[in-house]
């Protein structure tokens, strides 16, 4: 602003402000609105988590009582264990599937565009649809198991959906189906951005394809890998609609996840205070993933600036 005034002495500052007003409005109004929205509701949830609210929000102070009650409940403990299992299995497997798909697609094959669209397509389907379709496919009495039985192999067994120890894996399967295409797209972009000169130099030096992937291409993909992992992790932590449609937390309460517990406490049990406490715990888990990522990004940027 001061610069503008200095360089164009004939023009008063007010006119300049008016000229740039649309830009300011475009940027700042939505930004402030969404920030206010996010921050104010987060703070409000934080406040509610310390109150004895049940049916409707009330003021009052109960300290950490809601937190201790949530942390001590079986539902939350099961949800937390499931999150660790589901989160790590889903993130690793979907990244691995995405990477393999990307490498296969990167072989200059014919029909790449069509295949890429097919693999990306599940991402366009809503989680509720994914969950419902997979709940039919995986239901032993309706889906895959019945199909194989009807084909004649009657001893075939695939009943993870109703097996309380394996049910969490059905969510992993459906989630991988849904989002490995996304990981594939990111990895493919990464593969295409590897410096062609390095690859040529390696070829001249006589490196085979396996060696080339292992020593040159994959190591250059690791910034993208971290991005994929972080994005998928925050998806894993906030998973709700997929589980609700696929198992609804069952059999019993075997596939509870934190988001399901929050919804259950707030809207099924009418325990707003405890639900808010569970939501804040979820936010803390998210921060545990996002803060190290932000710190890493910061270090990277500083290194780039100084390097």
């Amino acid at each position: 602003m001061t610069n503008a005034v200095l360089t164009r002495p004939g023009r008063p500052a007010a006119t300049e402000l008016v000229r740039r007003l649309p830009e300011y409005l475009m940027i700042w109004v939505p930004l402030l609105l969404s920030a206010a929205h996010l921050v104010s509701f987060s703070l409000w949830t934080l406040w509610i988590s310390f109150t004895p609210s049940t049916l409707v929000p009330v003021s009052g102070w109960v300290g950490l009582r809601n937190y201790t009650a949530v942390a001590a409940s079986r539902n939350w403990q099961i949800a937390f264990d499931n999150l660790l299992l589901f989160g790590s299995a889903f993130v690793l497997l979907s990244a691995a599937t995405g990477l393999i798909l990307a490498i296969l697609l990167d072989q200059r094959i014919r029909g790449e565009n069509v295949l890429r669209s097919i693999f990306l397509y599940p991402l366009a389907v809503s989680f509720v649809v994914t969950g419902t379709v997979w709940s039919w496919l995986l239901n032993p009495g309706l889906g895959i198991q019945k199909l194989v039985h009807d084909l004649g192999w009657t001893s075939f067994k695939f009943d993870w959906l109703i097996d309380r120890d394996m049910a969490i894996w059905t969510i992993v399967i459906a989630a991988i189906w849904q989002s490995s295409g996304f990981a594939m797209a990111l990895f493919l972009a990464g593969l295409r951005s590897v410096d062609a000169d390095i690859i040529k130099a390696a070829q001249i030096d006589g490196a085979g394809p396996a060696r080339m992937y292992r020593r040159i291409i994959l190591p250059s993909l690791w910034p993208i890998t971290i991005t994929v992992v972080v994005i998928q992790l925050q998806f894993a932590i906030s998973t709700f609609d997929l589980v609700r449609a696929l198992t609804n937390g069952g059999p019993g309460i075997a596939t509870q996840l934190p988001a399901l517990v929050v919804y259950d406490l707030m809207f099924q049990r009418s325990l707003l205070g405890r639900g808010a406490a569970a939501a804040v715990l979820m936010l803390l888990i998210l921060l545990a993933v996002l803060l190290p990522y932000a710190a890493w990004r910061y270090v990277q940027r500083r290194r780039a600036a100084h390097g």
Binding site: T54, V56, A72, N248, P251, G252, A254, F267, Q268, R269
Partner: protein, 428 residues
């Protein structure tokens, strides 16, 4: 002077125009209007409330019903949002202890005068009446009654088992299930996989084993009773039932499997009386199934009460107030209760409705008789699975334990009883 006259006439005219609505209101000529929300959107429930709305319109009212499909809790979310926005519906579905809980967050209508005028109190079961006047005044009105532990028997499955005797005790029930199993019925117990389904299995078992223990443990949350032998026995019975169910139902609704039940692939169903309405609505005949009170070890019927009700929220608008009065009169009317119950398969709240006339099923007659007997022998208790015995938070904590037990066959009955007592302590 012509101008003055005109002005005077104009003034008189507008005064009359202003006075007219007030006059009409005083005459009761304002058109009654009712805004209502409920979960009843489809099937026999939807048909019944639509029929009630028609009656409301016949009496000159404007019927504005907004159904919220799904479980009752989903309807409650809408109710909560409306109350917090200061715009509650004139009338909403709500039942059991939730009536007392919700009446603390928004003002309700005092219905004492209209209830007294109808002489309603004399014809309602006292336990039920108490739930609808939490602070001593009527603020809600029960509409229909179900028993959650009715026993539905598939005729074809009975034929396969070569049995014709309706089981009375749990021992009879278990014997018949074994007979069905060996007679070629794949799954002697029909079921869905939802939380209330699992809860119903447990409450039917416990109340059938000992109504007194049920009252003490589940309704009064007595610590000693919660650790008592009856609870363990009930869990043991639930394990037997679970072993006879089709494990593949996953989280399906019980109605998904009704065809297999009628076909005799499944044999017995412990379900609320509403299943009759659902069966009839799906096109099945009364000859396809039998209905009896759920198993009771002392041979006297045990009635697990579930009653739907309407609560009335205070509104300032004269038309809504008139609508509330009209609705209250309709809900208490024996003809309306008859119409409603005949559509849904429930029984009327009024104990003075004659069910021997045409239009009622044997199952409904048996249910009404069971209620009368159960009240007489103090064996009418409030359903846990359907939120009549406890508020939602406590109910959900207990159902957690039950549903996990039904689905996890490695949990022992003793363990489940301990967990149930712990869950109650945690939710207190």
């Amino acid at each position: 002077m012509p101008i003055t006259t005109t002005r005077r006439r104009l003034l008189a005219g507008s005064a009359a125009a202003l006075a007219l609505p007030a006059f009409a209101r005083a005459q009761g000529a304002v058109k009654p209007r009712l805004t209502a929300i409920s979960q009843w959107s489809a099937g026999s429930d939807g048909a019944a409330i639509t029929a009630l709305g028609k009656k409301f319109e016949e009496k000159g009212g404007v019927w504005q019903h907004s159904p919220v499909p799904g479980f009752t809790t989903e309807m409650m979310n809408k109710l909560r949002a409306q109350i917090m926005a200061g715009d509650p519906p004139a009338c909403s579905q709500l039942k059991g202890p939730e009536i007392a809980a919700w009446s603390k967050i928004a003002p309700t209508v005092d219905l004492d005068a209209v209830v007294a005028a109808a002489g309603y109190e004399k014809v309602v079961a006292p336990d039920l009446a108490r739930l609808h006047k939490p602070a001593g005044k009527w603020i809600a009105l029960p509409l229909q009654i179900y028993s959650t532990n009715m026993l539905f028997l598939s005729k074809r499955a009975m034929d396969k088992a070569k049995a014709d005797k309706i089981p009375v005790t749990w021992a009879d029930f278990n014997e018949l299930a074994e007979k069905m199993k060996s007679g070629g019925v794949n799954h002697p117990v029909a079921n869905g996989g939802t939380r209330p389904d699992d809860g119903q299995k447990f409450e039917a078992a416990l109340a059938g084993i000992s109504p007194a223990a049920y009252r003490a443990a589940i309704m009064n949350l007595d610590k000693k009773a919660l650790e008592g032998p009856e609870i363990k026995a009930a869990f043991a019975q639930v394990r037997k039932i679970a072993d006879w169910m089709d494990p593949n139902v996953g989280a399906q609704h019980f109605s998904t499997n009704l065809k297999r039940f009628v076909d005799g692939d499944m044999g017995m169903m412990i379900m609320g009386g509403w299943a009759q309405g659902v069966l009839r609505n799906a096109g099945f005949k009364f000859e396809d199934f039998m209905i009896a009170p759920g198993p009771s070890d002392n041979s006297k019927p045990v009635f697990l009460l579930n009653a739907d009700a309407f609560i009335f929220w205070q509104r300032k608008e004269a038309d809504l107030q008139a609508g509330q009065t009209l609705m209250a009169q309709l809900v208490m009317d024996p003809a309306i209760q008859t119409m409603y119950s005949q559509i849904t398969g429930s029984i009327p709240v009024r104990t003075d409705v004659d069910l021997s006339v045409e239009g009622w099923s044997d199952g409904q007659r048996r249910t009404a008789a069971a209620l009368k007997d159960a009240i007489a022998s103090n064996q009418a208790v409030l359903s846990l699975a359907h939120n009549m015995a406890q508020e939602n938070g406590m109910t959900a904590a207990m159902i957690d334990v039950i549903t996990e037990y039904v689905k996890n066959k490695t949990i022992k009955p003793e363990q489940a009883a301990t967990r149930l007592a712990e869950a109650v302590e945690g939710a207190r």
